[in-house]
């Protein structure tokens, strides 16, 4: 285990110990009929995809697991990537809540018989933070959290996304995690909901989980650049229209990356439009900086269409331009997404495109479960 993991692990352990020991008893006992009984560790009935919940403790334990199979240009066809993430959420009184996500991933040989075909398992503290609900419209978050740029980065877990692969526009140009403080909430603007996030990152000094952020998932080898923040400041707004069927978002972040250490400004837009017959989503980013080599821009549009019960056909087109190397990548992705029961997702995906050095063409599949 890398020495870089020690500090985040300590933070994660502190969060977990606090959660399990019960820093304070939850005050919102959720079953009035048991109010006088000592059943404080009596869990609520378990449902797949909702975690194990102890109402009287204000404690929820859950997570997700997935196995990715891939056969891509330049990769070993018999390899797979396995991820397991564990979530722990703990209410502290009426205003505070602790959350942590511990994740481990490992590239292994599918057959298992060869023994030694895989890489080393890594344990990362993906997220660890404390939320303080200051007012109905403001929650303050302290710790390591997902960078609020676009929708995908905030809900990137395999069981929650339509496809196995992740668009470059959702990770390549910025760090997926930030460490510092954030304010977020929902306010009404002209009778409609506006979600907002404003954050300040100081990863250089807080140094939480520096090993985790690859610029993109590199199935053919560990060659993707690490793009952790040194410092960042920014925010996002998401405006809901027509109920929640249409949401339009915009992001702006100014930051300095660890490698290469330049100053950048990134602007992003995103949308989600859900109808009975199709769900359309899209995100785009435009990054600039002092150096001409800082420029990156790209975006994708994705459609999910229900074809029979619990089975969806997915199509996505992405275009992404990088300055180093100077190239424009175009990726077309077609996929099937099957959700037989809540919490369980099976995916099969084919992608191809032009200039596939970053995104090799081929097949991907995954089985994932939210537990």
């Amino acid at each position: 285990m890398s020495r870089h993991l020690h500090r985040p692990l300590v933070l994660g352990v502190i969060a977990l110990v606090s959660a399990f020991c019960g820093v304070s008893r939850a005050t919102d006992a959720t079953d009035a009929t048991d109010a006088t009984n000592d059943h404080s560790w009596q869990p609520a009935p378990y449902s797949l995809g909702q975690g194990l919940y102890f109402p009287d403790q204000g404690l929820r334990i859950g997570g997700y697991a997935d196995v990715h199979f891939f056969d891509l240009s330049g990769s070993k066809a018999d390899s797979s990537l396995r991820d397991v993430s564990l979530f722990v959420t703990k209410d502290i009184g009426s205003r505070w809540q602790l959350f942590t996500e511990l994740a481990t991933s490992r590239t292994v040989n599918v057959t298992g018989a060869q023994n030694g075909g895989g890489g080393q398992a890594k344990v990362d503290v993906e997220r660890v933070y404390a939320d303080f609900h200051a007012t109905p419209a403001i929650t303050l978050r302290f710790g390591k959290f997902l960078t609020p740029i676009g929708e995908w980065n905030l809900v990137h877990a395999d069981p929650l996304t339509w496809t196995v692969s992740r668009p470059l526009s959702t990770s390549a140009a910025f760090a997926r995690h930030a460490a510092g403080a954030m304010a977020f909430g929902t306010v009404a603007v002209k009778g409609r909901d506006l979600d907002y996030w404003v954050f300040a990152d100081d990863s250089k000094n807080l140094g939480v989980g520096q090993d985790a952020d690859d610029a993109f998932t590199d199935y053919t080898g560990d060659h993707s650049p690490r793009n952790n923040f040194l410092h960042a400041f920014g925010g996002r707004v998401l405006y809901h229209l027509a109920g929640d069927s249409l949401a339009v978002g915009a992001s702006f972040v100014t930051y300095q990356l660890e490698q290469p250490r330049h100053d950048y400004q990134l602007t992003g837009i995103d949308f989600t439009w859900t109808t009975r017959y199709v769900e359309l989503t899209g995100e785009a980013i435009y990054r600039t900086g002092a150096s001409p080599l800082s420029s990156e821009r790209g975006g994708f549009v994705e459609a999910g269409i229900p074809i029979v019960s619990h089975l969806y056909l997915i199509g996505r087109i992405e275009r992404y331009h990088t300055s180093v190397p100077e190239t424009t990548t175009v990726v077309r992705t077609e996929a099937l997404n099957y959700r037989p029961i809540p919490g369980l997702v099976l995916k099969l995906e084919h992608r191809n495109g032009r200039n596939g050095e970053i995104v090799p063409a081929g097949w991907l599949a995954s089985i994932s479960v939210l537990f």
Partner: protein, 163 residues
Amino acid sequence: MPVYRHIARLSLFGLVFAGPVTWAAQVQVAVITAPAAPRLAFDKDTLRNVYLKRIFVDGDGVKLAPVNLPADSPLRGIFTRVILHMSEQPLQDYWDKQYFQGVSPPYVLASDEAVVRFIAVTPGAVGYVASCHVDTSVHIVMLLPLPAGTAESGLCADHTGAP
């Protein structure tokens, strides 16, 4: 919202003192809280955000605890359509994503009576029941008319004294 509260009080007064036949004909969805109601401007948008867990505390910092009826409850179906404006699958997707953020869906209680008992003793709790189940232990903050064509008799079938 004062107007809502005024209407709610008048409606509760009418429900309590009206005869059983009249009462059955006026069943509505009653949104209830503990007698000391949370300091929130209760309108449909606010109620929606409470139930979607976009609002966590009231103006005094009291934690809000929305509760649901079981998934197969007709009243829950009505409430979901009228207030949340979401069908089953989008709502499931929404809670899956919230779960990833550490936010849990509203806790589920088994019956209207259980909701009333829980709400009556829990500051910050918010629930909904058929108005025929409301008693003086809780405070009505909003009344929602039933959609046309709703079978009212089923909503009050397990209530003592209901026709």
